[in-house]
Amino acid sequence: MIEFAVHTRDDGIGVVTPEGRLNMVSARRLKEILSELVSGGTTRIVVDLGETTFLDSSGLGALIGGLKSARQAGGDLRIARVSPAVMTVFELTNLDRVLRARESVEGAFDD
């Protein structure tokens, strides 16, 4: 069971908040949401993982897919508010370097 909260901020940055578990079933929906944002012109995206209780390789794949298409369109994808448990999954795959976790959604594009 998962819900996705999606909104675009005044500064044009899209914020996607997966609430629940990012697994095989929900990763497909995340992939769609991210590619719709990018093709709709929102190329700077923050994925707020603060409400994400579980992550697996399909969730990682959806994030990497979104990162690539955002960058191809001249933007970027960043992740924020990653819990220690979810961080474990990024560390095990060495993706903590490609997708560096930011503390807050607000400041995710500050650097």
Binding site: R21, N23, D56, S57, G61, K68
Partner: protein, 156 residues
């Protein structure tokens, strides 16, 4: 192919939970619910141990659902359908899972599993599970694939 792993003992644990069900993507949520029940019975397991165990179970089961039936014909009426069984359990030292499915045998070499390129969008499941687990074993017995998963519990 290997011998049964040390986690096989979970199938004899008095406190084990066992689920047998059709191998569909939708069943994942019920396996998550099963693990949530397990965490409720042992509240002292660290978040990190829970995550690496739950993620590995879901990766291995996800592979069964996605890959183990790719080329077979078990959905022909009259033949046994695509089903799996999962056994999970906890002891003072271990988190253990045993998975059995009636899919096709696989020639996977678990010792040769490597993490793909950073920008790959798939192919990370087995690498993630082998990195997260303390033991992962596979064997084919009597027309079934058997997977045994072990996490040694660590302090938080």
């Amino acid at each position: 192919m290997t011998d049964p792993g040390p986690a096989r003992v979970v199938t004899t644990l008095e406190s084990r939970l066992v689920l047998s069900a059709p191998a569909t993507p939708e069943i994942m949520d019920l396996v998550h619910a099963m693990l949530e029940h397990l965490w409720g019975t042992s509240p002292d397991i660290s978040d990190r141990d829970r995550m690496r165990f739950e993620m590995s179970v879901i990766e291995i089961l996800g592979n069964v659902v996605e890959h183990a039936y790719a080329a077979d014909h078990s959905d022909i009426p009259g033949q046994d359908g695509r089903r799996f069984e999962i056994v999970v359990g906890i002891t003072e030292e271990n988190l253990m899972a045993h998975l059995g499915d009636n899919g096709l045998p696989t020639e996977l070499d678990l010792s040769g599993v490597a993490m793909p390129d950073a920008l790959a969008e798939s192919g990370r499941g087995l690498a993630l599970a082998t990195a997260a687990l303390d033991d992962l074993s596979y064997e084919r017995v009597d027309g079934r694939n058997l997977w045994d998963l072990l996490c040694l519990r660590t302090a938080d």
